[in-house]
Amino acid sequence: MATHEEITESLMVFTENYNKNERLKIMNKDWNRIVVVQATDVESLHTLTLLDGVVSLKEGKSNDPDLTVISDSETLADIFYGDITPTEPYNNGSLRIIGSEDDIIRLDFISLMIWGE
């Protein structure tokens, strides 16, 4: 089981790598979304806000998310550190994403562009 701090660190690494990628920022400049990340086995809630192509991270939840990413702490930490692709846990049901199918795919595209295959 990963800790809340580990999930926070993984999200910080994800945010930093995203914001360093100019291409991603241009691609997502019109994709303004609020993404809540929620662990199922530890008390851990984070909100990623994409605004004008830039991502920011804060602890706690937003009441009006476009996407909610729900999984166990280990899977969340691995995904946001880029050690596993989101597709595998999504296809086996250990990762649940609530939101539109297009947004779910976009989130996977972002992960692919940050971490590669």
Partner: protein
Amino acid sequence: MQFKKVLTLRTVVATSAGLTLASSSFVAAVSVANFVLGDTAWIAILTGGFLCFLAAFCFSELNGLLPSAAGIRLYFSRAFNDRVSLTVSILYMLVVIVGVVGAESYVLSTVLSGVIPAVPPYAWIVLMLLLVTGMNIRGIKIAGLFQDVITYGLMFSILAFGLIALYKVNFQLSAPLSPGGATGIISAVAVGVFLFVGFEWVTPLAEEVTQIRQISRGMMIALGILSVTYAIFTTAMTAIVPKEVLAASAAPHLVFARAALGGAGVSWMTVVSLAATVTTFNAGLLSVSRFMYATAREHALPQIFSRISMRYLTPWVSILTLFLIGLVVSGVILLTHRYLVLVHLAAAMESIVYVMAGLAVISLRRRMPEQERPYRIPFGNLVPVLTILVFTVLALTVLITSPWVLVNLAVAFLLCLVYVNTAVPYLKKKHQARRPAARRRPQRRTDGAGGN
């Protein structure tokens, strides 16, 4: 927590019905009519629709239990195992794309060549495929209100054509209650399942509705509307045009439209056919290209299929590959004229998937008994067992009566099985070898300060 994007029941119904409305459905409807006597196709179609309700119940429970855009890939993986799930999913996607592109392009090119004979049929096919491929690469999706308008417009048009034609014959039908022997009826119902192919593809919207039961309600309403609409339309077709004439044409709906409303009918039906094919093509290409992308992302297809367009954020390699497959398949069908094989192939494959959905419901009730189910089929295992029995009989009927379908499906199944058991482990091993030696995530400290 609240969600910003919420789909209405109207859109869920339109999505479920829209995926099934295709130009090749009219060919399947004539095929159904030819298995029974007189103007009794309505009996087989309503029966087929009723039986699809059984499958819809199973998908409702599965979708409530595991709400995910991954659909059968997830249901079958949890109910059976990953290999079974991957084999069936790849086979299903293969049959869908070959069936949809092959049959649809053939029927539509016949329609358009009938209206503008100077343009060769293959040119129409290339044009249609280019249009839909371009839309997919640009990420243009027919959705929301536009999808609703097209789908409800199509259903209204089909119903209006049927009622106008029946009015022209004063609602006088030939032996409307005597369908003939049991073999003919079973075959008719088996092919009739094709009319409803894809109604369950609405389940990926599970995460976009406020209440999961909206998906099951939408599927049921769509099935009900489609059953009645197709029953009226098909009965009207055979009431005003001899069955032999309809069966001899690859575009029977155009023959019917001319008989019902003359030149105006032909124009109206051409628009209907065009809209039905473009939406079906687009939905098929969108779903299958995303499936290819996701499968490549889990290292079960070569990585090249996960390449995305930097400009449009779409999986362009998968889309272009499907475009090329479409060109080849439609060329082969245009040369061999075996479009009916594809219709029967899709009907058989759909029945097999419904059988597996019934088995998955029973299996998951054993494997995940405590898991919350927003929708649970009443009467224990009766409905899933009936689904398994009914669709096994229907699949076998199609496979026995169409040897070409049996051969094609058996070969495709074997290829998928070999691929999943040899190529997939190789691809996964190759990926493991290429992964960075060290994980990016820092090792947890063992002094207890870093967590559990």
